[in-house]
Amino acid sequence: MRPLRLRSAPRIRNPGTRVALPLVLALSAGAPLLVAGHRSHPPAVGRIEGQVLLSTALTTRRPRFRIYTDPGPGARPPAHEADEMRNVVLYLQRAAVPDDARGERANITQRDEQFVPHVVTVLRGTTVDFPNDDEVFHNVFSLSSAKTFDLGRYPKGSSRSVVFDRSGVIQVFCHIHSDMSAVVLVLDNPFFAVPAENGRYAIEGIPPGEYTVVGWHERIKPVTRTIRIVAGETARLDFNIPIPPASEDGR
């Protein structure tokens, strides 16, 4: 999964200040640590770093089971991906948006009857591709209020895309395989990160000010913290996310 990369040094739409921000925001499953990396930090921005801990709640582990299946390929459900840390997103709420902040295309692949990655976070206006890598048809759709779409059935090697032009949580499903699901989290600003496998995360290039940082996972009520960003300094913020644990054998 390629990182989300802002096309050029964006400008912050912030009253009284116009600050160049070279940002590279890595995105989602493939990235071990989503860090806003850049060649040099302008002194007028700060950063947040911290540690995400996943605490366990009542388990919702699932057997690999479909009560009724159509005969033919795809009758057996796939093994589920277990790395819940990749499904956590940390983002700033109501942060100023850089003038020319644009997210690059993202994609959610249909592979082994799963959406990979399960969670993709994008900036509003981003196009997400849904390529099918499976030997069976898939029919990707969403009925979420932030984006309703149905891409129809298409085979291996085909791809269809959706532009996510409203912020919100968009749940994505497959009409044919009811246990396939993904989430597109569409944000209004590019200040977000997905923690690495060890739980560490960093959000960089943040204009000074007071912000609400949200710890998000699809199965919990978002956890919020307030933090003050000072130019040239790193603020420390840890999150405890109470989500159901993954099973030990990778499902």
Partner: protein, 370 residues
């Protein structure tokens, strides 16, 4: 008193363990699942049709819950059970009913091989896999493809473009109202399929075995064992989908040995069904079915074996307010040919039905709230 407190504590521990899965120190297990579908239906039919009449032709309601649970104590071994409860004046049979629909154990080490034993759906035909209300694009079920369950074992699997299924079932494929209630005996059944391209699957299946029972007298059975009178079914099925269009079709040829008759009694039935998604939340669907099916029954020492020709069509649409909610509205009409079995009514009727289906995951409701 002390015993009741201990029993209550044990019950609480059991409930907790059931909800939380077995402890994490026990490896190679996949937890617990509890899902289902709640249906509420409103019906208006006439009273003329054997197939379609409900509530004596008056507007009537029906409520249904179809729920299943599964637990995987060892890797790839899943114990499961499905229970169905139904109530309301729009039921085909009067009163309320709760029954064990399906259950057993499934061992599925790979896509190429799944073994299931217990109370299983028939191997012949493919409609049983789509009988859940959220998967059936219409409300009705083809008259010739009502799902039947029997005790036995079956294997399923797919390798490349080929898939197979086979099993041994305790009952014949029973057409209630057309053939006598069957007795228990072994019925081998097989099915094969090929998916040459992702959008097309073609399949065939067959089964053979006794279809009568020991309820009949020696005189009625002409001095032979009821097991010597056999049912043979050979069926074909096709599934084609492209873009927003899905088409399913099935055809079956059935042959029955009838006591005292030298020739077999034969039937042919088929249906064609299509569904087109108009927009993300809305689809339209239609199904046409024709049954040229034998009615076989004993009247005293004599047997009647006449074909009953019924055709019916259903059209409608579905709207999805949410991903787990589906509302369907359909109209169905049927017609029975006047030259059918002598005792059959020469009926033609209609049914209008509205169905609300809500799928649920009980554990998610518990952990996350509605």
């Amino acid at each position: 008193m002390a015993h009741s407190v201990i029993a209550r504590r044990r019950a609480l521990v059991f409930v907790f363990l059931a909800l939380s899965g077995t402890p994490r120190t026990v490896c190679a297990q996949g937890g617990f699942l509890w899902q289902g579908i709640v249906d509420v239906e409103a019906w208006k039919t006439d009273s003329a049709s054997n197939l379609l009449a409900r509530g004596s032709g008056h507007p009537s309601l029906l409520g249904r819950i179809d729920t299943w649970a599964a637990a995987e104590p060892l890797r790839n071994i899943v114990f499961f059970a499905e229970v169905l409860g139904e109530t309301g004046p729009a039921r085909i049979e009067a009163g309320s009913e709760i029954y064990f629909k399906r259950g057993g154990v499934r061992f599925s080490p790979s896509d190429a091989f799944t073994l299931e034993g217990g109370k299983i759906p028939q191997v012949v035909g493919t409609f049983s896999s789509r009988q859940l209300s959220t998967r059936n694009p219409l409300i009705g079920t083809p008259d010739g493809y009502a799902a039947t369950y029997s005790y036995g074992a079956r294997v399923d699997g797919s390798v490349g473009v080929l898939d197979y299924r086979g099993g041994v079932e305790s009952l014949s494929l029973w057409r209630e109202g057309y053939t006598p209630q069957p007795g228990k005996s072994l019925h081998p059944a097989v099915g094969l399929g090929v998916t040459p391209i992702a959008s097309v699957r073609l399949g065939a299946s067959a089964m053979r075995g006794p279809y009568l029972s020991d309820a009949f007298s020696d005189q009625q059975l002409k001095g032979q064992s009821w097991r010597t009178y056999r049912q043979t079914i050979i069926a074909g099925d096709a599934r084609v989908s492209i873009d927003y269009l899905e088409v399913h079709a099935e055809v079956a040829r059935s042959t029955y040995d009838v006591p005292g008759q030298s020739a077999t009694s034969n039937g042919l039935q088929y249906y064609v069904e299509s569904k087109y998604t108009v927009m993300p939340r809305l689809y339209v669907a239609a199904r046409y079915e024709r049954n040229d099916y034998p009615f076989i029954g004993a009247f005293g020492p004599n047997w009647v074996a006449n074909n009953s020709i019924v055709s019916d069509g259903e059209v409608g649409g579905g709207f999805r307010p949410a991903a787990s909610t589906l509302v369907k509205l359909t109209v169905r009409k049927d017609h029975r040919a006047p030259n059918a079995r002598p005792s059959a009514p020469h009926d033609a009727g209609y049914a209008v039905a509205l169905q609300l289906s809500q799928a649920f995951d009980a554990l998610e409701l518990i952990t996350r709230g509605p």
